[in-house]
């Protein structure tokens, strides 16, 4: 069965493609869509893999599509969803050119020689937070010693976030009991099965609040400056089509700025892509998710340097932490791992 799968994989396109050989992006010489810039001569279709499932958390991308920002750049962007590590491997192989993934994940992938480059941040703050029930008595991260913390699993951003928080408080992983509880953080905390859980600042704390469970949150971004989610491509695509990468980043950042400016309109546009969020039962809570996401998409540095900017210091801190925690064993050249060259101060006002 495994052999068969390997054989099937062999039927796909080979992974080691040089620049310019990749047929994934096709240019059609038709007139471009709404509001095209004068120099645009055709529409380029491309696929962008967003993580997880369609969600209002991806509003900036939906807004960029709906407002025609992608079309302005001559792009026709199709969204795909999936599990981030898998998407990153596919981008590395060249079968897919673009994905959204977090900086730490991308660096771990690069350390395993997946040839990825981070080209623009969409979250300015690492959105993971520790959520402790009030009755657990946890008043600081240091209080975690001897406590049980629920994480979805010993992988991914929530686990990385827990390790970063412990690290910042001078604690070791062995000082707490990290328990894999799947995506049941809300229920586990509500029932007191764990003292605290790791979750996303724009999700679980809101749900717990609605359920009337008093909690304290300790966001990772307050202690450790980890690079969060952004647009990732592979090295050969960046070398072959830097203009296209720039277009995608620029248009997405326009969408991001627009979402921040007009969250109501952005929410409505998102419902076209994530219609489940618009149902009577979910509408209010999903609107809260969007509201809570907006502060995570902004920082002083992105204000000063332009949306999409990532701090070189944050990259160094991310790498240092990953090496300390053992997630990365080999050296990673940060210069090759990310670029701020597509970030524009005035992207939003174009």
């Amino acid at each position: 069965m495994l052999i068969l799968a390997v054989l099937l994989a062999a039927c796909g396109s080979p992974a080691t493609q040089g620049p310019g050989q990749n047929p994934a992006a096709t240019t059609t010489p038709t007139a471009s869509g709404t509001g095209a810039t004068p120099e645009a001569t055709g529409v380029t279709k491309l696929t962008l893999a967003l993580g997880y499932i369609p969600s209002v958390q991806f509003a900036p991308f939906y807004v960029a599509a709906e407002r025609g920002y992608y079309a302005d750049e001559g792009l026709d962007v199709e969204f795909k969803h999936g599990i981030e590590p898998d998407l990153l491997k596919i981008v590395g192989s060249g079968d897919l050119q673009y994905a959204v993934a977090s900086g730490d994940e991308m660096l771990v992938a690069r350390s395993q020689v997946v040839p990825l480059v981070y080209t623009g941040a969409y979250f300015q703050k690492y959105p993971v937070t520790l959520i402790a029930s009030e009755k657990s008595g946890i008043k600081s991260v240091g209080d975690l010693k001897g406590k049980t913390v629920g994480v979805p699993g010993l992988f991914g951003a929530t686990y990385t976030g827990l390790k970063a928080l412990l690290d910042s408080a001078g604690l070791k992983e062995a000082d707490v009991t990290a328990r894999s509880i799947g995506f049941t953080q809300v229920q586990a905390l509500q029932r007191g099965q764990v003292d605290a859980v790791m979750g996303y600042a724009n999700n679980e704390p809101l749900q717990l609040k609605r359920l009337g469970v008093p909690v304290r949150t300790f966001p990772v971004w307050e202690t450790t400056n980890l690079v969060s989610n952004g647009i990732v491509t592979n090295e050969s695509n960046l070398a072959a089509r830097p203009d296209q990468v720039g277009s995608l980043v620029r248009a997405t950042m326009r969408g991001l700025q627009e979402t921040i400016r007009e969250p109501d309109a952005a929410f409505k546009m998102s419902l076209k892509y994530a219609p489940e969020a618009g149902s009577a039962e979910n509408r209010e809570s999903q609107r809260e998710v969007l509201n809570a996401s907006i502060p995570l998409w902004q920082s002083d540095l992105s204000e000063a340097n332009g949306a999409g900017y990532t701090d070189p210091k944050a990259w160094e801190e991310t790498l240092k932490f990953l090496r300390r925690s053992g997630a990365i064993k080999s050296d990673v050249d940060l210069k090759a791992a990310y670029t701020n060259r597509f970030v524009e101060k005035d992207a939003a006002t174009r």
């Binding site: 069965m1 495994l2 052999i3 390997v6 054989l7 994989a9 062999a10 080979p14 992974a15 080691t16 599990i83 590590p85 898998d86 990153l88 491997k89 590395g92 192989s93 994940e105 771990v108 992938a109 350390s111 395993q112 020689v113 997946v114 629920g150 979805p152 699993g153 010993l154 992988f155 991914g156 686990y159 990290a178 328990r179 894999s180 509880i181 799947g182 995506f183 049941t184 229920q187 586990a188 099965q193 997630a327």
Partner: protein, 274 residues
Amino acid sequence: MATKAQPNRTYAASQQDVARPRARRRVACSFPHWVWPPMSLALALLLWAAVVRLGQYPEYLVPSPVRVAERFVTAIGDGTWWRHTRVTLLESLLGFGLGFGVAVPLGWALARSRPLERALSPYLAASQSMPVIAIAPLVVLWFGYGLFPKVLICALVVFFPILVNTLVGIRNVPRDLLEVAQVFGANRWQMLRLVELPLALPVLLGGVRLGLTLSITGAVVAEFIGADVGLGALLNISRGMFDTPLTFVALVTLMAIASLLYGAATALDNRIER
């Protein structure tokens, strides 16, 4: 590798299992029969190595068999392999035991009581349309994060094929044999022990064989949902670390366990039938 139990598949498999011992001697060959499995394995490994070599695949997409073997050695050496493997083995065997313990008596009752069968079988069949991956998060929610929810998920997977095979096996026991036993004064328990069970055994063992391999799938699904240890957790962990060779180590181990359990059930079958 079967991933989902279907009634007709189970039945067909059980029929094959009944017929197999007689069919085995059909192929005359000068090689001793034990030569074949290692030969097909060697061929498969060669093919795998050739595909990786010719396609020039990077390790994170398709690691070569040599790389996987190396990773196997390090995973065994540092204790990773056994730590995860033993938990999956424990969960699947306990889950199999639980599923078997519930399915056999229920299967027998359904075979012996038409009204009971009429009342329950439509729902039992319908319950099989629910993918385990969909139920597993609920089971975790209801029963917590320890060993039990995982065992329960395994048991749910194992339950149906064994139930169907028990039902078919018991029902296929010829009526006249039961009547003869009755004439000789056998009570219910003696009929079960001396007539029904021995005659239903070949079909039942077909269910056991299938159930044992499926229980591995159940354990992995449960561990996928939320677990620190177990081969399903290792699949998640290795994916997060972009350690594809380690993913292959977990997969190869799962296949090895499944074939081992299948082999053990077959050996048991052969012993009993002899």
